[in-house]
């Protein structure tokens, strides 16, 4: 199980989506897929055209910058971060 942390901008878009949850997945891409199965449409909020992370969405696995294909180990911490920007 990976320990997944989501940005505050995401839970208001999906009923009962928490900021933090455990996900059983081998890669970042699979983790997002698991979320999309339970909260349809969530993948579109993180990925552009479904194939890559959106430009202002960053993912870190155990504090290292990650991509969709990055592998997850049991107990990995996954931080999904919306870029600090805007005003």
């Amino acid at each position: 199980m990976a320990d997944l942390h989501l940005p505050a901008t995401l839970p208001p878009l999906f009923r009962d989506l928490p900021r933090r949850l455990d996900v059983d997945a081998a890669t970042v891409d699979e983790a997002i897929e698991r979320l999309d199965e339970r909260w349809p449409g969530l993948r579109d909020r993180l990925c552009a055209e479904g194939t890559e992370l959106r430009p202002h969405i960053h993912v870190y696995v155990d504090r290292e910058r990650a991509e969709l294909g990055t592998a997850l180990a049991a107990g990995s911490r996954v931080d999904v971060v919306a870029a600090i920007s805007g005003g």
Binding site: P12, G41, T51, R54, A83, G86
Partner: protein
């Protein structure tokens, strides 16, 4: 007593302004749509739903929908996208409700449709084969702000018949639901060289008279124009206006010759000339224009109004509404003769639409 509902799409969500048929006292609700930038919010008279086209810098483009006049909202972007390897969809900017479906104009330029109340979408057309099409999605050709397909004008009687505006290119008409298109820019003016006289025009706002299907008006980057033949040809009607530039425009619901526009300085500022707010009206199809400013600020009012920033209701004495880039909404209940400020401190306003709800 009917309820008059004004929808304001802003940089920080959608707002709902409500009044009764007198349109004097207004209540403001919002912000809705989680504060996402809303480019165009519209009301569907047949279902009562509100749809709001939005795009988050973080989470992409989508359309919010509400079936209870804004009290609760849901977001969907299912089907709003191009095929792998195709153009990128960065924004949904113009919504149109007609003939039991919702049409959305997108950036990169394309027309999407939804037949289930904005829950799911499918691509209708990217206007392939039209002059200019090969280049208009090329990033090298994009000015600041980018270009897209911000507006779709439906024919009121024919479901497969509508017009699409491609920014910086012009108007295209389809009568077969997007299977084929024809440029409709004859007679327009461009203050720049054109490779092909059929396209290369900057159409800011296109409207049809509700009482004459042949009568169209447009505010162009280069002048005001009128068509008496359903857009097949255009005649410039700028003379008498303080500027040939502006974005917003509205056609009177009961009189084919009455039309409203908000002229702006054409330079970088794109705000009302001289710091004095005014809407201009013609009652003779553009032969003469009258300045309407009673109740509008006439000092230090450097206001901008965008392409979807003005709307007119369908009551016997039509009400006009416009929203500014600095968050004010002004309303007139007497066809523009006098105005009052009905919201003062909203975020920057992208769109204003109005509905009269029984």
């Amino acid at each position: 007593m009917p309820l008059t509902v004004v929808l304001a799409g802003t940089r920080k969500g959608c707002f709902v302004l409500e009044s009764d048929g007198d349109r004097r006292d207004w209540k403001v609700r919002g912000p809705y749509c989680e504060g996402w930038p809303v480019y165009h919010a519209v009301h569907d008279a047949s279902s009562g739903a509100i749809y709001a086209a939005a795009a988050s810098e973080w989470h992409g483009a989508g359309v919010w929908r509400s079936t209870d006049l804004g009290e609760s909202w849901e977001l969907s972007s299912e089907g709003l996208g191009y095929a792998d390897g195709g153009p990128k969809l960065s924004k949904v900017s113009g919504l149109t409700v007609a003939h039991g479906r919702v049409l959305a104009g997108a950036e990169s330029a394309g027309v999407f449709e939804s037949r289930d109340g904005a829950k799911t979408w499918s691509l209708l057309s990217t206007l392939d084969g039209m002059p200019g099409r090969e280049g208009w999605n090329d990033p090298a050709n994009q000015p600041p702000g980018h270009l897209g397909l911000p507006a779709i004008l439906p024919h009121p009687d024919e479901a497969a018949h509508f017009w699409a505006v491609v920014q910086g290119i012009g108007i295209f008409e389809t009568t077969d639901d997007g299977a084929s298109w024809t440029p409709r820019n004859r007679g327009l003016r461009a203050d720049w060289p054109l490779e092909d006289p059929e396209v290369g025009y900057c159409v800011h706002k296109l409207v049809m008279s509700p009482v004459d299907r042949q009568r169209l008006y447009q505010q162009n980057h280069c002048g005001m124009h009128r068509s008496d033949d359903g857009g097949h040809s255009w005649t410039e009607i700028t003379e008498g206006l303080p500027s040939d530039f502006g974005f917003a425009a509205a056609a009177h619901p009961h009189d084919r010759d009455t039309f409203y526009v908000i002229p702006l300085d054409p330079g970088h500022g794109r705000i009302m000339p001289g710091g004095k707010a005014a809407v201009w009206r013609t009652r003779d199809a553009g032969s003469t224009w009258q300045r309407l400013d009673r109740g509008l600020p006439q000092r230090d009012a450097h206001l901008g109004v965008l392409r979807e920033g003005m709307a007119i209701d369908s009551l016997d004495s039509p009400g006009l509404y416009f929203g500014t880039s600095t968050g004010q909404v002004f309303a007139s209940a007497d066809e523009g003769e006098s105005w009052s400020e009905i919201a003062s401190y909203l975020p920057a306003i992208s769109s204003v639409e109005v509905a009269v709800v029984a």
